[in-house]
Every structure is written in structure tokens, then in C-alpha cells.
Amino acid sequence: MLATAIILFREVLEAALIIAIVLGASRGVADRGRWVLIGVGGGLAGAAAVAGLASTASALLTGEGQALLNAGILLTAVGMLTWHNVWMSSHARELKAELSAVGAEVQSGAKPLAALAMITAMAVMREGSEAVLFLWAIAAGGEGRSAMGVGAVLGVGAGVLAGALLYRGLLRIPVRHFFSVTSWLILFLAAGLSAQAAGFLNQAGLLPALGQGLWNTSKWLDQNSLAGQILHVLVGYVASPSGIQILFYFATLCVILVLMYRPRWRSL
């Protein structure tokens, strides 16, 4: 039971943390809750579809297909996070003013709501497909099924709780600093996801590694420990990164920073 709970917790944690960050980052944007729910629903449907394809051993997920699919999902999320951050960089001031005026929500402009739904859907789909595949196997299996079912519910619950805690924590940040904190969080989140995508593209043989495992910090911080996994989501911690991952990480950081601060530089 505990083993199942831990596996499900780990699968759910990444998606939950990502959703908590984008929910926090879009604080004050009207209708965001509904769009995030649409994203969760879409992501679950996508996860079930991927898991279904996997169980029929579809060509999409055998061979190198799976790595390509993962890279595609991750890069889509990176694009959406970039859009979100660029939009926030030019609207943070009005959002801040509105938030200070208790409960009011911003109504103006093309909001990154579609981006919000997409990021949520991608996060849920990527982690969810593994969870669904695992749960199906449990459901199909015989002995110990109910104990594993309880474990699964506990694991999913704990993952969602971790996301909720992060979200509550974010809300405690004073409004004055709030959007700069969340946009930095999104920046590092996007860079980390981009590095993961590079890893998958290398795994599929489409990109050179530019040095496999340039260093290994597993001794100091195991990537599969709880702290390692949280840092993996938040800042893209990889215990043994390849050159191409580092390249993607910093290239993404630079591109998003330039896009975020470009309006400000222009006005100087």
C-alpha cells in the first residue's frame, strides 16, 4: 500500500506543484479557476488516451515515440509559460493595483487563460499518463488490489495537498513582491522543463548529448528524494545533467528574460 502511495504521490507531485505556481502567478485574473479546471479535465483525458495507446503497444509510444511525445508536451508547456510570463510582465502593475483594492479582478486585455489551461493540461497529461497506466495495471491485477487502491488514493491526495500547500504559501507573499516572485518561479520552471525536453530529444537520438552526465551530485542530493524531486520541478535540478540540457536550460532563461524585460529596455 505504502509503495503504491509513494509512486502515485511522486507522479502527482510534479503536476500539482506546476499548477500551484501558475494558479498563484495568475492571481487576480478573472475566470482563471475555470480555465485551470478545463486544463485538468483535458489533461486527464489526454493522460487516459496516452495510457490507452501505451497498453495497446501503439507505435506512438514504442520505439522512440514516447520520448518525442514527452519532449513535445514539455516544449508546449515551456512556450505557454513564456507567453504567460511575458503577458504578466506587462500587466503585473494593474493586477497589483486591483489586488490591493480587495477582491477585484482584472478584466482587460487578452489574458493568458488559454496558456493557463494548456500548461495545466500538459502537466496533468505528462504525469497522469504514467499514473493511469500504473493504476490500470493495479485494477487488472489480482491480489492486494484493494490495499493498492487505498495507497493510490492516499498518494494522489498527498500530491494534491503538497500543491495546495505551495499555493497557500505563495498567497502569503506580500502583494508588493508577489508577481516578481511568481514570475521568477515560472522562469526557472520553464527552464527546467526545457532541459527535460532536451534530455528526451537526446534519448530519442535527435540531439547530441554534448557530454553525457557532466557531473553527478547524487551523493549530495538524490534526485529521487523528496527534496530532490521538488527542486527538480521548481528549478530543474538534475543530478547528472548532459551538456545539451544545460544549454537548453540557460537558453530558455535568456530568451524569457529578454522577452520579459524588452518593453522596459525600449523605454529607457
Binding site: 509510444l61 522512440e64 504514467e130 538534475v238
Partner: protein, 116 residues
């Protein structure tokens, strides 16, 4: 003008450098998941080239082949198979495990061409 003359050459060289690892001679091998074990538990591959590892799952449970040191992560559906590439990488022992069942472990040993 001279710039344009050597540009195609430079592009070709760059493309060659980028494609080099992709076109390098390929070694292929299979790891089988059978009765909750990786077989063979230890696998030897050359460190220099690029090798394709196919993971074939004969069990009814899905597995997630994961190696932190090789930075590889792939879900293997029940009775399904997936493949991915490793290398070129520094010679050494690279451990992997099943993220859905941490008791299942194995090692990929990358060896230098000269042997020992």
C-alpha cells in the same frame, strides 16, 4: 563574396559536427523485464559509440526504466517494448532502476574500446 563562398562549407561542417553522433555506428541490445527482474542485470556496451537499448516488458505490470546517471526515463507498458539511445559517454558503471518498483535494479557498464 568570399564569405558566401565558404558559407556552404561552414554550414556543411557544422551540420557534420551536429549529425556526427546521430550517424555514428549503432549497437543494439535488449533488456528484458521478466518476473519482476531486469535481464541481464548487468549489460556491457561500448562507451564510444551510440547504442540503442530496447526494454522489453514481459510482465503484466508497467515499469518505468529510469537512470539518474544516464539521465534516461522511459515508461515500458505491460507486454510492450520501448527503445532509446545511450552514449557516447564516459566509461563507467551506470545504474538504473524501475521507478514503479525500486527493488528492481540493473547496471549498464560502458567500456572503453581498448578493453581492460
Amino acid at each position: 563574396m568570399s564569405l558566401f563562398r565558404w558559407l556552404p562549407t561552414a554550414a556543411l561542417v557544422l551540420a557534420g559536427v551536429a549529425a556526427g553522433p546521430l550517424l555514428a555506428a549503432e549497437n543494439g541490445t535488449v533488456i528484458t523485464i521478466h518476473n519482476g527482474k531486469f535481464e541481464p542485470a548487468e549489460l556491457k556496451l561500448p562507451a564510444e559509440g551510440r547504442s540503442r537499448i530496447t526494454v522489453r516488458n514481459q510482465d503484466a505490470m508497467p515499469a518505468e526504466f529510469e537512470s539518474v546517471s544516464l539521465s534516461r526515463e522511459v515508461v515500458v507498458p505491460p507486454r510492450g517494448e520501448v527503445s532509446f539511445f545511450v552514449g557516447p559517454a564516459a566509461p563507467g558503471r551506470y545504474e538504473y532502476f524501475n521507478d514503479f518498483n525500486h527493488d528492481m535494479k540493473g547496471t549498464v557498464v560502458l567500456e572503453a574500446a581498448g578493453g581492460h
